[in-house]
């Protein structure tokens, strides 16, 4: 069997052993069930409101949590093994750097996928059981798409984590770098876009502007979960309202966002001094 699977298997086992998978799943489950039932509490309503509302609320939760978790799951993937001496050892095995990196992605990706599926699946099941007048097929379709895009978003940030991990020489620097990536893509990017928009009173290339959203994987993820629902975007997403990015374009953008950093991480890993 390919060494990629052995590495993935080991990462997965590590994930179960140190309770990462359990912890992430529980966080996702608690928060998503909470949001499904109390998401509209601000409007004075308690209980399930509507599928689009729920998915959009869950997306705003996931967009903060998933990148953070993915970055912290994988920031030490390379630099950590280097510090422990196992990287030096592994590279003397019949195994290439590419296989090592892909094995890590597969293992960490399976952990992210599994926790997302179980955590958010819990809220799908709650809705199907307790909400009135709900079509189970629609719920499954909506949550299926959500879990798929959320897992992809997780993979993108795992790839970012590998870039950091292949680049820096110390674990503590990698942790700092991971935080920086999180701030940049989750907070600063949107603020900068909004700021530009407000400062120019919307006159700054209004036809180009929405495309800038594709430059941030978290915005792509949010767009995926807006398209197909009548839910209206808030903040920067409102700009993409009249643009008809289809699911095809958006998923392709996310996949490009996965491939690009994986390529960079691989390049950095090849050049990394031992």
């Amino acid at each position: 069997m390919n060494p990629i699977f052995h590495i993935a298997h080991k990462e997965l086992k590590d994930g179960f052993r140190n309770r990462w998978i359990l912890a992430i799943t529980l966080i996702f489950a608690l928060l998503s069930v909470g949001i499904s039932w109390f998401g509209a509490a601000g409007a004075g309503v308690i209980g399930f409101t509507s599928l689009p509302n729920t998915i959009v609320s869950l997306a705003s939760l996931a967009v903060f949590l998933i990148p953070l978790i993915a970055l912290f799951l994988a920031y030490d993937a390379i630099v950590g093994e280097d510090e422990d001496g196992t990287l030096l050892l592994l590279l003397t095995y019949p195994l290439s750097k590419g296989q090592l990196l892909l094995g890590k992605l597969l293992g960490h990706g399976a952990m992210m996928g599994l926790s997302t599926l179980l955590g958010f699946g819990a809220s799908a099941i709650t809705i199907m059981i307790f909400a009135d007048g709900i079509n189970a097929v629609e719920v499954i379709r909506a949550f299926g798409g959500f879990v798929l895009s959320a897992t992809l978003l997780g993979l993108v940030f795992l790839a970012f984590a590998y870039v950091i991990s292949a680049w820096v020489s110390e674990k503590s620097k990698a942790a700092g770098g991971a935080l920086l990536f999180w701030f940049t893509f989750v907070l600063i990017f949107d603020l900068a876009l909004l700021g530009t928009l407000v400062a120019t009173e919307g006159r700054f290339h209004p036809e180009v502007f929405p495309f800038l959203l594709l430059l941030n994987p978290t915005d792509v993820f949010r767009l995926i979960n807006l398209v197909g629902f009548e839910g209206s975007g808030q903040g920067v997403l409102a700009m993409a309202q009249d643009l008809s990015f289809g699911h095809g374009v958006l998923y392709s953008a996310l996949i490009a966002w996965l491939l690009l950093p994986m390529g960079i991480a691989y390049g950095l890993f090849l050049k990394r001094p031992l």
């Binding site: 052995h6 590590d14 422990d84 050892l89 590279l91 003397t92 195994l95 031992l274």
Partner: protein, 309 residues
């Protein structure tokens, strides 16, 4: 077949000349000790042999191939490596870790279990690595290196952190492997105790090979004096007088205690001195110490620094 052949190898890094003109070979069934201070080029030599670095100049051939090429991957099944200070995945058990490495080397996990038993870890296989002592971790590292019954074994500081008994057992295993035809490179700066287990020694200093050969060859080359110590029932002045009459002692005889004297002598006259001393009825004990690996090491490294300060 020669397992390792280095010929006039140079290795520069961006601003360091790590190795200059290094040539050495390793044959099956041979243990080569690689000695040198920190920064002498031991680690770089190991990395070149393992194909983790590419030589800047010269020839590196391991198992008949260039180790830094992609195609070398197939040969890696036949190489065992124990890195210096490796700490395995603390959350996994000893068995899980060894199974992981076995799978990566495409080796039956049952064989890994056998090895755990042989290495004396059978009682701890289901415990997490984080509970292991330094010695147990080192054993596990060695088990990992022995997984594929390697033709070539590289050991970097293998006995650091091992107690004397574990060290003995460790060298016992190295001897056994050598007898089976495995070629071993043993990198160490713990010199005492290694002598008996190596066939040849290579001494590195500042990226150059300072000396290479069997211990006998190195002793002859260094021509270091041996130390002779005799004790006797006679009082020291009488003993000293007797020895001087025998014409065995060179200058610098020094008393150890009231009945024991020690002096140094050129290595050539060992047998002559022994014969003369053996005829003396009054002597209780004779002890001849040939220069240890440590003094040889110091000799060759210091010699080099005198020539080029």
């Amino acid at each position: 077949m020669t397992l390792i052949r280095l010929d006039q190898v140079h290795k520069h890094f961006t601003n360091v000349h790590a190795l200059r003109d290094l040539s050495l070979t390793l044959n099956p069934g041979e243990v080569l000790g690689l000695f040198g201070h920190n920064g002498a080029g031991k680690t770089t030599t190991m990395k070149l042999i393992l194909g983790l670095e590419k030589p800047s100049q010269g020839l590196v051939e391991v198992l008949g191939q260039s180790p830094w090429r992609r195609q070398f991957s197939e040969q890696r099944h036949q190489i065992g490596f124990l890195p210096e200070s490796v700490s395995f995945y603390p959350q996994l058990t000893g068995r899980e870790v060894l199974h992981y490495f076995a799978r990566l080397k495409k080796i039956d996990t049952a064989q890994a279990d056998n090895l755990l038993e042989r290495i004396g870890l059978a009682h701890a296989v289901n415990r997490k690595i984080k509970t292991y002592s330094k010695g147990m971790r080192q054993r596990l590292g060695l088990a990992q290196a022995l997984l594929s019954q390697p033709r070539l074994l590289l050991l970097d500081e293998p006995t650091v952190g091992l107690d004397p008994i574990a060290t003995q057992e460790f060298y016992g295993m190295v001897d056994e492997l050598r007898d089976q035809g495995c070629g071993v490179i043993l990198c160490s700066h713990v010199l005492p105790g290694v002598e008996k287990h190596i066939n040849r020694a290579a001494i590195l200093g500042q990226g150059r090979l300072r000396a290479l050969g069997t211990l006998t060859e190195l002793r002859a080359q260094a021509n270091l004096p041996m130390t002779i110590r005799v004790s006797s029932a006679l009082a020291r002045p009488a003993l000293q007088q007797q020895l001087e009459d025998l014409d065995v002692s060179s200058a610098g005889m020094r008393p150890i205690n009231g009945h024991t004297l020690e002096w140094q002598s050129a290595p050539g006259n060992k047998m002559q001195i022994l014969r003369r001393l053996a005829r003396q009825q009054e002597l209780d004990d004779i002890d001849i110490q040939e220069p240890s690996l440590e003094s040889l090491y110091r000799h060759f490294v210091e010699l080099a620094t005198e020539v080029r300060p």
